[in-house]
Structures are given as structure tokens and as C-alpha cells.
Amino acid sequence: MSLHTDASPGLQAVPAEAESVPDGAQAHFEQLLAEDSRIEPRDWMPEAYRKTLVRQISQHAHSEIIGMQPEANWITRAPSLKRKSILMAKVQDEAGHGLYLYSAAETLGTPREKMTEDLIAGKARYSSIFNYPTLSWADMGAIGWLVDGAAICNQVPLCRASYGPYGRAMVRVCKEESFHQRQGFEILLELANGTGAQRGMAQDAINRWYAPSLMMFGPPDDDSPNSKQSMAWNIKRFSNDELRSRFVGMIVEQVKVLGLTLPDDSIRFNEDKQQWEHGPLDWNEFKEVLAGRGPCNAQRLARRREAHEDGAWVREAAAAYAAKQAAAQKTEVA
């Protein structure tokens, strides 16, 4: 299956040369932002903008790739063939998202190889949520509903991100994510209407995934140093707390359909601020997981590294074969 990404081969990434700013380039960049237009790979852009994007897009790609693991954990044990098929397709979509996003990042001049090396060396970050274990089948539902749901709240505004290849990749990603969220909700709905054990499994999964999914929006606004600049660059459109509040408002209604509860008694709508509020989150835990001390950090990275290292001989074979074919073709032409 071929994956068409937005990184069309015709577009050449601009080499990073921070020191030389062509005449009028900065003004043109500012103008594009002011018009809310797209910045394309051929356009001049400030180094800091480029770096921020590479960091954000590659982190996003890594999250898709590491995020395959907690769900792949249940592919072989899925309790019906239909569910097995849906779960396989979902995890496969995530590999596809990783591919579009790596391609978008490559238009900024950073090769996928380098991003992969950074990931397996533990130098790059990915979403902390994937460092939590999937302990029951209901976690497949909770991840779809809460984790993919939070990701959609974060990602829909990114479809309008100022960097063209990123925004366009996000349009595709969001379409598939909304399908993922619906299938997650459907898993939970089936469990909630099932046996007592199934219902208990569903509630337990929601209890475990609720707080980590709220923390996916990032630290509170007054503790989020990079947000302001990203908003000025039209990469980020809403603050962490705005998006989190919006998400809480959605799930507080949806959980009623399930006939289950959220493990938070403090959720309420603040009329003055016109915002949903939730109970305190354990930001210490968030920082611990971010710092590599979560339940599955080591396991996830080890698995990615192992797959990469075990596959080295295959990639080398493919490269050697391609080189031989190219050489043979050259000889034929000559």
C-alpha cells in the first residue's frame, strides 16, 4: 500500500542557514502569518520557527509510533474476530500517521533516520500517555475514547497550523482519529451493557485513563513556557487549559451515555469563565513520567530499539539490493 504524504518529492527543503536572511524574507514571513496564510517548505523561515516545528512534528510522529505498542499488546488476545480486525486496522493507521508526520518533518530538513536515532537513544520525547500499561481489554476502549478524544481536541486546531505540510498531514490524521475515537467509545458501550465483569472492567479502565488523558494537553497555562511563542507563530491556536476544559465538557456528557462515571467529583461548569473545571491533577506524576520514570518508559523504548536493531539487516539488504540494481542500470545505459 502506498502512502501519499504531503511531502511531495518536488519540494526541496530549505537548508538551515541561520545567519543569512535574504532581503525582505523576514517581512514576508511576518506578512504570511498576519494574513493567516501557510508557510511552505520553499519559504524562508526563522530558525527558531523551524526548530520548534521539527521538535513538535517529530514528537508527534514518535507518539504515533510508540503509541502502537500499548494497543498492539491486545491484538493477539482481542476477544472477537471483528474486534481483532478493527484493532489491527487502528494500530496500522497509527504507523501510517507516523509516516505522514515524519515526512512533514523531513520537509524541514531533518531526515527520518536522524529522528529515529534520537527516539531510540532516548533523546526525543513522545506523549507521556503511552508510558501507561494496557491492563485489560477495556483499555482499548478507554484509549480510543479518552486518549484519541484528547488527541483530536489538540489536533483539530493543528489542521490550521501555519506550516503547510504539517497542517495538511493533520487533516488526514484527524479524519482517522475521529473514527478511532468512535470505535473506542463503542467498545466501552458494549462492555457497559455487558456482564457485571465487563462493566467493572470498563469502569476500571476509565478510572485509570481519565487523569493521564487530561494531562495530555500539557501543563497549566501559567507553567507552559513554549505556548506563547507557538501561538504567535500560528502553530498553536488555543491554550492548554482552554483545550482541556473543552475536552472535559465533552466527556462529562458522553460518560452519561455509558452509564459509567468519571473519577472526579469536582467537575463543574464555571458560569463566570464559561469554562468547564475539573479536580486537581497530579503534575508531579506527569513530570516523573516525562522524565522517564513512568510505568512503561523503559519497556516502550527497549521494544522500539529492539525492533530497529533486529531489522537492521533487512534495511541493509534492501539498500544493498537497490544500489546493485542502480549500478546494473547504469551499466546497461552505458
Binding site: T76, S80, K82, K84, S85, W137, D310, A320, K324
Partner: protein, 274 residues
């Protein structure tokens, strides 16, 4: 997923397991037993291949092996739904509630994934076998089997291409990859023979035009695989055939573990729906 995915279901050419159930055609007992063989082959291999997703040598290969696993699972669900119609059992009744000795898959499908070379060697044999099988089965007098085969053959054609392309790359890549694919083919080849063995059921169903006589596929299989191996400058392995017995429910040591993992959750919750 991109629009040219082999697994994309579009209205018009869709043949879902649900459609087979809805059509309400009840398989005769012997056809059901035959469908069980084909369904189990694909189910067991899909279960094996599903393991690769998130572990493949390249992201593109996570996608490709995932796609193949999904196709096979789709074929399995169709065959099992039809097989179950004879005894009022669902695809899940058959997948999750049969014992090891009741599975009818050939030994090749349950062989461990091994390294990527082993998986590709197994894919080579399976995809070329299934392509010939489904091509012939499209002419079955049993309209449900013919319809499942007509859909499956298009997908299996991609699987053939995938495995052949990899055999060429591994054989013509590095010394290491050539050593590995050569060894992988030697380890895989003993299990090819079972696919082409005739037995009473196959002979009688083939005579009636409902099934394909396994031995009749051997020549075209040898020609197809032989062409790939020859282009890769590899020899057809000269190794003795393994005894087989899967069609009678006699399996290798590997199947029990695979089933234990596949069935564990469903069996913890008898009667539950998911």
C-alpha cells in the same frame, strides 16, 4: 489508509462475513469441513502476522504486514462464518471455543514467525499457494466459496508480490541477508508438501466441483515459486517433507500456545458479547 489499500472495503465489491451470514446459505457438512480448513489456515497465519505490527524492520513493513494480516483475517472470517452455518455456530464460536484438535489448519501456518526472513519464506509459500487455490476455487459450484475466493484472490495477488519482492531483496542484498533467506527457505520447505495432499474429503468435493483438488495446484505453485527463486538465484530447497496431519487435527507443538493466547480473554467470559 490510502484509497488503493487492498483491504479497503467499498460498496459494490464488498463481501463481508456479515453478508455471508445475512445471505443465510447453509453449507452442506462436507463443504463446511472444507471451509473450516481454509478458514483456519488464514486465521492462524493472521494471528502470527499480527505480532509483527509495531515490531517490523521498517514502518512501511508494519503497515504492509498489518495489511496482509487484515486481509487474511477477513478471508478467515468469511470462511468460518460459512463453515459455522452448517452447525449454527458463529465465526467466534469456531475461533474461540474449539479445542486444538478441532482446528484444521496445515502446519505451515502455525510455524513461528522467526526472524523477518522466516516470515517472508512462509509468506512466499502461503501466498503462491493461496493464489493458485483461490484462482481455481472461483469456479466452485458452491457459490459462497466461489464468491469468497473471488474477493480473496485479488488481495492474495498483492501478498505474492510482497513476498516475491522481499525474497529478491534478501537474496540479492547482503551476504548476511542471503544466508538468512536461504536458511529460512530450508526451514519452511518441509511444510509445503502438506498443502498439496489429497484426502477423501478433498477428492469427493473436488469430483463434485465444489472444492479444488490440492494436488492439482502443485505444478502451477512450483512454476510460480520456482520463477521467483530462479530470479533470486536461489535453489529450491531439497529437504524431506514434514509429516503434517493438520487437516485431521493433529498439529505441531506450536499451535497450543497460539490458541491459548488467542482464546484466553474470550474464555474468561463465557456468553459475553464484545
Amino acid at each position: 489508509m490510502s484509497s488503493d489499500s487492498a483491504t479497503r472495503i467499498t460498496p459494490g465489491n464488498a463481501l463481508r462475513p456479515e453478508d455471508i451470514v445475512a445471505a443465510g446459505n447453509k453449507a452442506p457438512a462436507d463443504v463446511a469441513e472444507y471451509a473450516l480448513r481454509l478458514g483456519d489456515d488464514s486465521l492462524i497465519l493472521a494471528q502470527r502476522l499480527g505480532w509483527w505490527i509495531s515490531r517490523a524492520p521498517e514502518l512501511e513493513e508494519d503497515v504492509a504486514l498489518g495489511n496482509i494480516a487484515l486481509d487474511l483475517l477477513g478471508h478467515a472470517r468469511s470462511f468460518l462464518s460459512y463453515a459455522g452455518s452448517a452447525s449454527s455456530r458463529t465465526e467466534d464460536d469456531l475461533a474461540y471455543w474449539r479445542r486444538e484438535g478441532e482446528f484444521r489448519s496445515a502446519h505451515l501456518f502455525e510455524q513461528p514467525n522467526g526472524d523477518f526472513g522466516r516470515t517472508i519464506a512462509r509468506q512466499l509459500v502461503v501466498s503462491f499457494y493461496q493464489y493458485e487455490l483461490y484462482t481455481a476455487l472461483m469456479s466452485s459450484t458452491d457459490s459462497t466459496l466461489a464468491a469468497i475466493a473471488a474477493k480473496a484472490v485479488k488481495e492474495v495477488d498483492y501478498h505474492r508480490d510482497h513476498s516475491a519482492q522481499w525474497v529478491l531483496r534478501l537474496a540479492g542484498g547482503t551476504e548476511e541477508s542471503r544466508r538468512r533467506i536461504t536458511r529460512a527457505l530450508e526451514l519452511t520447505w518441509p511444510y509445503a508438501g502438506e498443502l498439496f495432499e489429497d484426502d477423501e474429503l478433498a477428492v469427493s468435493l473436488a469430483a463434485a466441483g465444489a472444492a479444488v483438488l490440492p494436488s492439482s495446484l502443485r505444478e502451477r505453485f512450483d512454476a510460480g515459486v520456482g520463477a521467483v527463486l530462479s530470479e533470486a538465484e536461489l535453489e529450491v530447497p531439497q529437504v524431506p517433507a514434514a509429516p503434517g496431519g493438520g487437516r485431521r487435527g493433529r498439529h505441531s507443538e506450536h499451535l497450543g500456545y497460539l490458541l491459548a493466547e488467542m482464546q484466553v480473554l474470550a474464555r474468561e467470559h463465557p456468553g459475553a458479547s464484545w
